[in-house]
C-alpha cells in the first residue's frame, strides 16, 4: 500500500508538485498528465478534466486547474460586508479590472455580465456567484461601481453579482497580484490627465468546493466555452 502511494507520489511530483504540497497527497488520483475524459473518480477536486495546455501548474504564476482558490477575504464594494473566497460554496467566476479602463476590462466585465444574463434567462441565477475584483480601490468607489455596472447593463442588485474592492492599493496588490497572480502596474499616459494601468487579463472558474476548474487567460474570454464549462461544474 505504502509502496503504491509512494510510487504515485513520485510520478506526480514531476508535474503536480504545488498541488500535492497544498493538499497533502489526498487528491493524487486523477492528476496523471494527459488524462482525458472522466478523471479521478471521487477523489478529484475538479469536475472538468485537465485543460489542454503547454505548462504544468508549478510553472504558472497563478492558481491553475485543480489548485485551491486563494484564501482571501475581500470587502464587497456596494455593501458593508466581505467575501471569504473559501467560504463560497457554489461555482464562482472571478475577474480583475478597473472601471477607468477602456480596452480590456469592459470586455472582461461584459463577458461576466453576459453570463449573468444567461443565468437569469436560463433560471440558474442563484447557482453561480460572479466576483469582479477591482484593483483600483481609490477611484472605484461604491458610487462609481454602481454607475459603471449600470452602464455595462449589469444587474448590480442581483444576488449573484458582487463587486469586490480591496481596502487600499497595497491590499489590492496583495490580493490581485500575490494571491490571484494578476499583475498590474500604474501608467501615466501622456495624453491623459489620470493614471491608468497595464494589467494581465484572467478570469477564473472555481467550483463549489473552492478548486480552480479553469483559468481563462484571455483578453476576450470565449463566452460559449465559459458557459459550457460552468454548466458542467454546476451540474456535477
Amino acid at each position: 500500500m505504502d509502496g503504491v502511494r509512494e510510487r504515485r507520489s513520485e510520478e506526480l511530483a514531476v508535474s503536480r508538485r504545488t498541488f500535492l504540497q497544498s493538499t497533502a497527497g489526498v487528491a493524487a488520483v486523477g492528476a496523471a498528465a494527459g488524462c482525458l475524459g472522466v478523471i479521478g473518480g471521487d477523489d478529484s477536486p475538479t469536475v472538468l478534466s485537465e485543460p489542454d495546455r503547454q505548462y504544468d501548474n508549478e510553472d504558472l504564476p497563478y492558481p491553475a486547474w485543480g489548485q485551491r482558490v486563494p484564501d482571501v477575504a475581500v470587502p464587497t464594494a456596494l455593501s458593508d460586508s466581505e467575501v471569504s473566497t473559501r467560504d463560497v460554496s457554489q461555482p464562482a467566476l472571478y475577474t480583475f479590472f478597473y472601471s477607468h479602463c477602456n480596452t480590456v476590462c469592459p470586455v472582461l466585465i461584459s463577458t461576466m455580465r453576459n453570463v449573468q444574463t444567461h443565468a437569469s434567462n436560463e433560471g440558474y441565477a442563484d447557482e453561480v456567484s460572479l466576483f469582479p475584483v477591482t484593483f483600483d480601490p481609490e477611484r472605484d468607489t461604491a458610487d462609481r461601481l454602481r454607475t459603471y455596472g449600470g452602464e455595462m447593463n449589469v444587474d448590480v442588485d442581483a444576488g449573484n453579482w458582487t463587486f469586490l474592492r480591496p481596502a487600499d492599493p497595497a491590499r489590492a496588490e496583495a490580493v490581485v497580484t500575490d494571491e490571484f497572480g494578476v499583475a498590474f502596474e500604474r501608467t501615466h499616459p501622456e495624453e491623459m490627465e489620470m493614471y491608468m494601468f497595464t494589467h494581465a487579463a484572467l478570469t477564473y472558474l472555481v467550483n463549489g468546493d473552492g478548486y480552480v476548474e479553469r483559468a481563462y487567460r484571455s483578453k476576450a474570454p470565449n463566452e460559449d466555452q465559459i458557459l459550457a464549462d460552468l454548466e458542467q461544474v454546476r451540474e456535477a
Partner: protein, 177 residues
C-alpha cells in the same frame, strides 16, 4: 491608435481571423480548423432603422461586406458608427452589418438595442451575437472591431479600434473597383 491588419498578405499561410484567434487563445474549436473560420455565421437581426427582424448570414454571401462588431456600452463604438455612416451611402454594392455580442435579457432588451441604434442614426442591418460566436470567428478581442470581407467571404482587412472613413474608403475602393 487603430491596429490595421491586411490579412490578404497572410492568405498563403491560412492565417484567417479564426486561426489567429486560436493562436492567441489556444482553444481550438472544431469549426475553426478549416479556412473560413466558421464564417459566414447566421445571426438574429433586429427590427430597427434600416434593419428587419429575422436572421442574416454574416458576412453576406456573394457580397463584399463591412462587418462592424459593437456594444451599446462601448463609447468608441459610437464613433465607429459615425465613420461607417459617412462611407456607407457611397458603396451601394457593399453590405454593411453591425452586430453586438451583448446577450439580451432584463437589463438589455432587443428594444433597447434598437433604440440605441436609432439614437445613433444606424441605417443598415443590425443583429445580435449572444455567445460571442461571431466575435470569436473573427478573432476580435476588443471593440469596436471592423472586418471587411470580399465577395467570396474572405476577410481582407480588419481593424481593432475605430476605423477611419478615409481608410475604409481605400479598402472598399480596392475591393469594388
Amino acid at each position: 491608435m487603430n491596429r490595421r491588419r491586411v490579412l490578404a498578405a497572410l492568405a498563403g499561410v491560412g492565417l484567417t481571423g479564426g486561426s489567429a484567434w486560436v493562436a492567441r487563445n489556444g482553444v481550438p474549436r472544431p469549426d475553426e480548423d478549416v479556412g473560413g473560420a466558421g464564417l459566414p455565421r447566421e445571426v438574429e437581426t433586429l427590427d430597427a432603422p434600416g434593419s428587419t427582424a429575422g436572421t442574416a448570414a454574416v458576412p453576406v454571401p456573394e457580397t463584399p461586406t463591412v462587418v462592424d462588431l459593437f456594444a451599446t456600452w462601448c463609447a468608441p463604438c459610437d464613433e465607429q458608427l459615425e465613420e461607417l455612416r459617412a462611407v456607407e451611402g457611397e458603396y451601394p454594392e457593399v453590405a454593411f452589418v453591425s452586430v453586438t455580442n451583448e446577450r439580451v435579457g432584463d437589463t438589455l432588451t432587443r428594444e433597447d438595442i434598437a433604440d440605441w441604434w436609432a439614437e445613433h442614426d444606424g441605417a443598415w442591418t443590425v443583429g445580435i451575437d449572444p455567445g460571442s460566436e461571431l466575435l470569436s470567428a473573427f478573432g476580435a478581442n476588443s471593440l469596436p472591431f471592423v472586418a471587411i470581407t470580399d465577395a467570396e467571404g474572405r476577410v481582407v482587412t480588419e481593424y481593432s479600434g475605430v476605423a477611419a472613413a478615409g481608410d475604409l474608403r481605400e479598402d472598399l475602393d480596392a475591393l469594388v473597383a
